[in-house]
């Protein structure tokens, strides 16, 4: 394990957080004065115990929530200051999100789930369908495209979720405990899939409890404790 005293930064950064604080109505800040950056093509794991602020950090990077203080720049754009519509449009085009519990829409087929972000972003139907087919094939679940999520295994569902996250070819893929709800074998398969994606140049931020997963796939690990980066500004790389 090696420690860096200087955050990765530069013009090629996909993510840059400067002095980000997030406070909810009561209690201590969920994130306090966090600064970090992620370069294009990097895989960064965010680790920490429950309540350490991992999900809050992910939400801020994804534009799902806004910081109380500080700036968040993703894909070269300040997202903490733009309006909700622009933020949604930005999210659809530049950020893909994979959730621990998949968050698939139960009443849509696998294919319709994957197509949805493309349709919301206004992609042409033909192109979107072709891209979805390509992703489903890559994920090995093409044969399930007309099935409903409830009929799939956990691993298959997470593959659908990854396909959905990638359908708009985002610069950044965020994964929140992507193997947390899977058995070991499925978890390994999903991990391998993520590594393949990174090998193809996909920037990836993993939020995980699993140090093995982080160690196996991430080039760098950011550790959070009580809303602060471990060692205050020091990033930990496995």
């Amino acid at each position: 394990m090696r420690q860096q005293s200087v955050p990765a930064a530069g013009n090629g950064d996909v993510i840059r957080l400067d002095g980000v604080t997030k406070t909810y109505q009561a209690g201590p800040p969920a994130l306090a004065d966090v600064s970090m950056s992620v370069a294009a093509g990097e895989v960064v794991a965010v680790m920490g115990p429950s309540g350490s602020g991992k999900s809050t950090l992910l939400n801020l990077i994804a534009g799902l929530d806004r910081p109380t203080a500080g700036t968040v720049t993703v894909a070269g754009r300040r997202i903490d200051t733009i309006g909700e519509s622009a933020l949604a449009r930005f999210r659809a085009r530049h950020v893909g999100i994979v959730f621990q519990f998949f968050n698939l829409l139960d009443d849509l087929t696998v294919e319709d789930n994957v197509l949805l972000p493309a349709q919301l972003a206004g992609a042409s139907g033909k192109q979107a369908r072709a891209r979805a087919g390509e992703l489903l094939a890559r994920m090995g679940i093409e044969q399930h495209k007309n099935a409903y999520p409830a009929r799939l295994s956990g691993g298959q569902r997470q593959r659908v979720a990854i396909a959905r996250a990638l359908v708009n070819s985002p610069e950044l893929l965020l994964a929140d405990e992507p193997t947390g709800a899977l058995d070991t074998a499925s978890g390994l398969q999903i991990g391998a899939l993520l590594r393949e994606l990174n090998a193809d140049g996909q920037t990836l931020v993993l939020v995980t409890h699993d140090s093995a997963l982080a160690g196996r796939y991430a080039a760098r690990t950011v550790r959070l404790v009580d809303g602060q980066l471990a060692g205050a500004g020091v990033e930990v790389t496995v």
Binding site: L64, S85, I97, D106, T109, Y148
Partner: protein
């Protein structure tokens, strides 16, 4: 913790749902207000008459007989006929022409009675004393020809002179009385009638009867026929029904009753639907909570009480506010109605303020009981496991289909969503359908009443009327012939004059109708005037007349029949050419001056109707005519008058429709709100995947768009049918038929446009929760489950 304490604690959390409480309260406010108003109008419509009719032993039938054809003994035997429960008479009677203050006071039917009391028609003496000698008369104080007993008419001590009788006998008014069934316009001492009879006319008398069955005009005619058969042929010359008196007494509130009842019923059904939906939604959304409550020891009964109490407080508040609103509405409507028609003070009965909220509360409790019992029966484990997601599999096919349609994705997602919760969707659909029905119905009824108003007041065809507004130079300061001629000259001098016709008005008598018939004779072409024709046609030949429905109903005659009209000079036989729309309990008759010469006299010249050329301003025309006539002329030009009832009714219809539409919108709001809460996590996912606020708003509004379209398709024909049925009910209450054109107020283009009300209600109800959903932060929505 004691039994109630546990409930208090459990209820505390439930009361956080303020919006649902507001919805319940508002819906019950609307329903209770409508119900209170409906009860008040119902009571005001006929209760006073029924009460007085019973107390005064009103005559079911007043039979007029030729006293020369049957002896008093023969007449008395008819009191023992089968079906007769009481009889009085014979009382000598005569119809006389009377003048008061030198002006015609109309024909009066006078009866000779020694006392006001008796087994039938116990006349109530309001002022003065009963005639105890010759030359005295007691007048009927209810509205009578010339306004007897009212301001400007005869007072106690006034003298009436009987014309057409040798010596023009004078009658001093010694009292005022009321016969609930209008058996006569006045009463004199029995011996007086012979002196008042026009020489050469047969002696007449009246017999008054009460029958076991006299609830309809047909039954009354059958009763009269029984009496006719029992007497020598030609004895009975006429029979009048108590129903005519009831018709004349019935207030205009009664006419409004059908549509108030229609709105009240719509409000009632909506209240049931929405309250049921709210409580069911609360049960479904609160499955987890129910499970927790039961797991910590709440009994099924306590759970039921918790859920009932969730509805109880807002329902009670809504009902109480509804009673207040209903009373305010009813008082306002009754006051306006009383003021416009001088029918006396009418009050909201106390029982209306009790029955309406009590009924609505009972209904609400019954509606809420089903879902509450369901909550009580759920086991703790079932409830916790059930969660709040809709049953898996529901609506999947709809989503698949929507995905294949070339619709914007948020629209497709929104349109498919209602299939996940079909019961809730049906309730929303019903609420929108009822709301839209109310709105379309209100527009239609307003159009129909506008046509009725235009037909009754002639406002569309007779924009200018010339009426007596000052003192004339003739006898008793009535306009003289020169002043009348000046009016004609003034009208002819105006380039905007297209038509003008003199209108003579007076009271005539027709055998078979007890009360006086209000008659109008027109001195000129009237084909342009535009009375609404129910059947037949407007008169177009000498000897033809038109009559209103009350005339036909009370006389038993039909269009095409002939009738005898006593105009004061001589009897005229006329043919009834058509039935015109003139809603009134008072029989009315319209003919040309040529047909009714006895009526078309200078003293009866009441006004002129004026039709204008296209493009002529009525206001400018009125100003020009008045300038020409000068300030010293007794005549003056005015615009059309009347139609107060229609103004009151239209305002009330608008208010009720607005209230129902608001309730429907709240019902939609409630449904969308519940669905938004159910699907908050899905909404978070949509946002995380890049759904913009505008797209979210579109999707949520589209949740309700499909049901709204179906609701519109149901509401349009329902409103048309309701409008037709209500108009006929109102017409029936007003004792009139209606021209077919009054119900034909929904051309397809207008109906299509009005049907958009369903979409408007749905959109208005959905926009608020849709806005909340659109504004919610994705992270918060994803956390909220």
């Amino acid at each position: 913790m004691n039994w109630l304490g546990a409930i208090r604690t459990a209820t505390g959390g439930l009361l956080r749902h303020k919006m649902q409480a507001v919805v319940i309260g508002m819906v019950l406010l609307v329903s209770t207000a409508s119900a209170t108003l409906g009860f008040a109008l119902l009571a005001a419509s006929n209760a006073p008459f029924q009460h007085a009719f019973g107390a005064q032993r009103g005559a079911d039938v007043t039979v007029t007989v030729n006293a020369a054809r049957a002896s008093s003994a023969e007449l008395a035997t008819t009191g023992r006929l089968a079906g007769v429960t009481a009889a009085a008479g014979p009382f000598a009677a005569a119809t006389v022409q009377v003048q008061f203050g030198g002006q015609p006071f109309g024909p009066l039917t006078l009866a000779g009675r020694a006392s006001p009391g008796g087994p039938v028609d116990d006349v109530v003496l309001n002022a003065g004393h009963w005639p105890d000698g010759p030359g005295q008369v007691v007048l009927d104080a209810s509205p009578a020809p010339g306004g007897g007993g009212q301001g400007g008419g005869p007072q106690l001590g006034s003298t009436l002179s009987v014309t057409g009788v040798p010596g023009a006998p004078a009658l001093v008014v010694v009292g005022f009385a009321i016969s609930i069934t209008n058996t006569a316009d006045g009463w004199v001492a029995p011996g007086e009638i012979a002196r008042l009879r026009v020489p050469g006319t047969p002696a007449s008398a009246q017999m008054l009867y009460r029958f076991t069955s006299a609830g309809s005009y047909a039954q009354v005619r059958a009763d009269a026929a029984e009496v006719t058969r029992a007497l020598p042929p030609g004895t009975v010359t006429g029979a009048a029904s108590w129903l005519a008196a009831e018709d004349a007494t019935t207030g205009n509130g009664a006419i409004m009753e059908p549509f108030v009842v229609a709105f009240a019923l719509i409000g009632l059904v909506m209240a049931v639907l929405i309250v049921g939906n709210v409580v069911s939604g609360a049960v479904v959304a609160g499955y987890h909570r129910i499970g927790v409550l039961k797991s910590i020891g709440l009994t099924p009964a306590q759970v039921v009480v918790v859920y009932l109490s969730r509805v109880g407080a807002p329902a009670l508040a809504g009902c109480l506010a509804g009673v207040v609103a209903g009373n305010l509405l009813a008082v306002s409507v009754l006051q306006q109605s009383s003021a416009a028609y001088r029918v006396g003070s009418q009050q909201v009965p106390w029982w209306a303020s009790v029955a309406a909220p009590a009924g609505m509360l009972a209904l609400t409790a019954l509606t809420a009981l089903g879902p509450a019992l369901r909550a009580g029966r759920l086991s703790a484990a079932e409830a916790i496991a059930a969660g709040r997601a809709p049953r898996a599999g529901r609506g999947y096919a709809a989503h698949r289909l929507a995905a294949r349609l070339h619709l914007p994705r948020p629209v497709g997602l929104g349109l498919a969503a209602p299939f996940a919760r079909p019961a809730r969707t049906l309730v929303s659909l019903a609420a929108i359908a009822f709301g839209a029905t109310a709105v379309i119905f209100a527009f239609g009824l307003h159009s129909s009443l506008s046509r009725a108003a235009a037909s009754q007041t002639l406002s569309a065809t007779v924009p200018v009327q010339i009426q007596v507004v000052g003192l004339g130079a003739g006898p008793q300061q009535w306009p003289d012939a020169a002043q009348d001629a000046a009016v004609t000259a003034a009208l002819r001098a105006q380039p905007g004059t297209r038509h003008d016709v003199a209108v003579y008005q007076g009271q005539v008598k027709t055998p078979g109708i007890a009360q006086s018939v209000s008659a109008q004779a027109f001195g000129g072409d009237t084909s342009w005037i535009g009375y609404g024709i129910i059947s037949g046609h407007w008169y177009n030949a000498p000897g033809e007349v038109d009559v209103n429905t009350a005339f036909l109903t009370q006389s038993g005659l039909a269009v095409g029949d002939t009738a005898t009209v006593l105009t004061g000079t001589h009897p005229v036989t006329v043919r009834i050419a058509g039935e015109v729309f003139q809603p009134s309990g008072q029989p009315e008759l319209f003919g040309s001056a040529q047909t009714l010469p006895g009526l078309a006299t200078t003293v009866n010249l009441q006004e002129y109707y004026v039709g204008l050329r296209s493009g002529t301003s009525a206001a400018a025309y009125i100003q020009a005519v008045n300038a020409r006539l000068g300030s010293r002329s007794p005549w003056g030009a005015t615009g059309p008058e009347g139609g107060q009832f229609y103004q009151i009714a239209s305002a009330l219809i608008g208010l009720l429709a607005l209230m129902v539409a608001v309730a429907a919108g709240l019902g939609v709001l409630n449904t969308v709100l519940m669905t938004t809460r159910d699907r908050v996590h899905d909404l978070g996912i949509f946002k995380a995947l890049g759904m913009r606020p505008g797209q979210m708003l579109t999707m949520v509004v589209c949740w309700i768009a499909g049901p709204a379209v179906i609701a519109a398709m149901i509401a349009a024909p329902a409103a048309v049918a309701l409008n037709t049925a209500t108009l006929h009910a109102m017409a029936s209450t007003a004792h009139t038929g209606i021209p077919a054109s009054f119900t034909q107020v929904f051309p397809p283009s207008r109906l299509a446009l009005l049907s958009l009300a369903a979409l408007a209600i749905a959109a208005a109800g959905a926009l608020l929760p849709a806005g909340w959903a659109a504004r919610a932060r994705p992270a918060r929505a994803l956390r909220a489950e």
